[in-house]
Symmetry: none
Subunit: 414 residues, 2 copies
């Protein structure tokens, strides 16, 4: 027995006036999602807990069965791992932005006009040189750019602490913040000092860099500062293979979700064209999922684009993206052996197209496959699934439910 | 965004033969409650947990989102706070009854024939005098009557402990109990001794009091003893304002619920005529709720009369009281801006008109307001709400769900 779990990021929503009181999922044409609902058993999932808006990191940890209090150690490290940066226990990882600041360190653009990945790479080389020349008191520093204005800072050494505040003011018009210690330990103070030193050092390295001179002469915002936020450490998760005796893989495009999956011991499968944007090639992901089933018995397929549309408060775009998920699922339905493979579809959280933000309403779930307790639900949606046979469950309940279907659940007692 | 939460005490019930298998709520004419169900999303709430009959104190703590194991420190202090008695950390507060005892301290009437508040006030003055004259070994004693036969005893001092038993035998025909220590600490023994000394001292102060002589000559039970029960200490609750970033108020008549709300940092709004009895002026409460919305963004409205009718095992009276709640809700519906204000209606517990007691069945809940995931439920009742889109939740889930709707929920992770 095998299973594919499709997680469409932020696919769930609230009823919208523009859609005559339907949610984007309810308004979309999704014959394949409906088929899973029809053949299978449905329910609602409080991914973290009732009313709690999940982050994408905590949501995926919960859906993979991890207790958040034990497992969540901040976004920075998860995103770093997902970007291919090696993170060891005790390393600190920060999410970084190239940004534009004025002479007083007031942030003018938190993304430096979304500089290109090529420009960022050139600036990163200069930063690496600068860090090498003037090492602050820390064992080992790695700074690496990822996509466009995004980058990762990794600090290693015995005198570090994750109890430090961000330097990113999270809005324009405000000064770059001084990092400060969040507890009494000298390590926290030391780490804050390292960040504050780096802020100045990187500003010096960037200010007169040829890339920025060229951008300035073209009237583009310069990338003359780096903002640090979202510090994290490596979560110590028992791998899914150990917890459930499965051989798991994940197909995901965004670094954060890749990081969670990797931390959970899932093999990452890269898919050409599956890049987390509106143009993402969902069918290529579906093909990769089917191929992976030859070697793996649990494959997670993550689709990001649904979430982007709701952050953009664009219900019509969201409907299109949901219909792309349906194309992906159609391919899966056509190519799996339905007597051997369970197919589960859900979302990691509700994203409200009204608020443009993650929201705490539960998400729909449908599971089809051999001998599931099929219910009366004939349509995949927030409200139809609420009438399903699974009732209202929690995110951490999903893996035990799937593992039971796969025959991988251990009996409690005898 | 704002919210009004209406809690009708003990409104939920069980199906009754006298009502042809309907509950009082299902049998009542409640067009406005039905309107909230119709416009909104419904569910069932296990206020404490499945099958557990809640007290009114624990129920309100849970519905306000507090973990009972951390927050519940006994009824005495909550009722004292709600009666306007100042309770400091380490103070002990007891609920007290004026009672009638014979020469052997056998309880003949636990309520001394429900003496008037005026008589109780006169007797209280004598008690205060007696305590002043013969202070037992305790820092500071306050005895104060509240309504009819009810009173509060507050003990302060460094050598006290809440681990003491009641002196109230909780039934007639039994002797007033000796308080005894419930743990090994000398403070508990000392506190028990204080109570036992007070029992004798107060009996002496009351026995020949003119009020009792007059009652005896009129053939009424005398108030010649005071029974102590329900010891409690001040719960240390994080205020709702801090937990959720709201500015909350409460409209309630009974001291216990007022105490819970005050302990949760809610501003108490007094309403003329809203006095917790059958005659309570529900419309005045509704008007006060609407007015309060100008200054507060979360208003709890508590109605007691529904509970009284079920303790009296009077389903017809209960139906009348439920229909009064409907009048209250009708006023709210007419006067709120439904695009800005969420309206939630529930009960704090089921009170069975068969048993005449609190019972462990879940209570119905309906929430209307902008962009809620409206379901198919068209009627407010125990069973219709059980088919609603909220499914079956716990009492502690209600506040997170409401806070998410208000946009006050904090994201878990990022």
């Amino acid at each position: 027995m095998k299973a594919i779990l499709v997680i469409a990021d932020g696919m769930a929503d609230v009823p919208l006036k523009a859609l005559k009181g339907r949610t984007p999922l309810e308004a979309a044409e999704v014959p394949s999602l409906d088929e899973i609902a029809k053949k299978g058993i449905c329910g609602l999932v409080d991914v973290i807990g009732p009313g709690i808006p999940p982050g994408s990191d905590t949501a995926h940890l919960a859906l993979l069965g991890y207790d958040l209090i034990e497992s969540y150690t901040g976004r920075g490290a998860l995103e770093a791992i997902g970007s291919g940066v090696d993170i060891l226990p005790n390393d600190l990882a920060f999410r970084c932005n190239f940004a534009t600041v004025d002479a007083d360190f007031i942030v003018l653009d938190r993304r430096a006009g979304r500089i290109t990945s090529e420009e960022a790479a050139t600036l990163t080389a200069a930063i690496q040189e600068s860090i090498k020349m003037n090492p602050p008191e820390v064992g080992d520093i790695l700074f690496t750019n990822t996509v466009q204005h995004r980058a990762i800072l990794r600090l290693s050494g015995p005198k570090l602490s994750a109890f430090v505040s961000d330097t990113d003011p999270h809005r324009t018009g405000q000064k770059v913040l001084q990092a400060h210690a969040l507890d009494e330990n000298p390590e926290a103070e030391h780490t804050a000092n390292v960040l504050n030193t780096l802020t100045l050092q990187l500003h010096d390295a960037l200010t007169d860099h040829p890339v920025n001179k060229r951008r300035a002469s073209n009237g583009l915002p310069v990338a003359n500062a780096v903002l640090f936020r979202g510090v994290g450490t490596l979560p110590e998760l028992d791998p899914l293979s150990l917890l459930y005796g499965i051989h798991p893989a994940a197909i995901a495009a965004v670094p954060l979700v890749k990081g969670v999956c990797k931390a959970a011991g899932m093999r990452l499968i890269n898919v050409e064209g599956g890049n987390g944007t509106y143009e993402t090639e969902t069918k290529a992901k579906a093909q990769a999922a089917i191929t992976s089933l030859q070697r793996f018995d649990f494959v997670l397929v993550h689709v990001k684009a649904t979430d982007l549309a709701s952050h953009d408060r664009n219900p019509q775009k969201k409907i299109q993206m949901i219909e792309k998920v349906d194309v992906l699922v159609a391919y899966l339905l056509q190519h799996i052996d339905s007597e051997d493979v369970f197919l589960a579809v859900t979302a990691d959280h509700t994203t409200s197209s009204v608020k443009g933000e993650h929201s705490g309403e539960p998400v729909p779930l449908a599971i089809s496959g051999p001998n599931v307790r099929r219910d009366d639900v004939g349509e995949f949606g927030e409200r139809p699934c609420g009438r399903g046979g699974l009732g209202r469950i929690r995110g951490v309940d999903l893996m035990p439910i799937l593992m039971n279907l796969l025959g991988k659940a251990e009996k409690a007692g005898s």
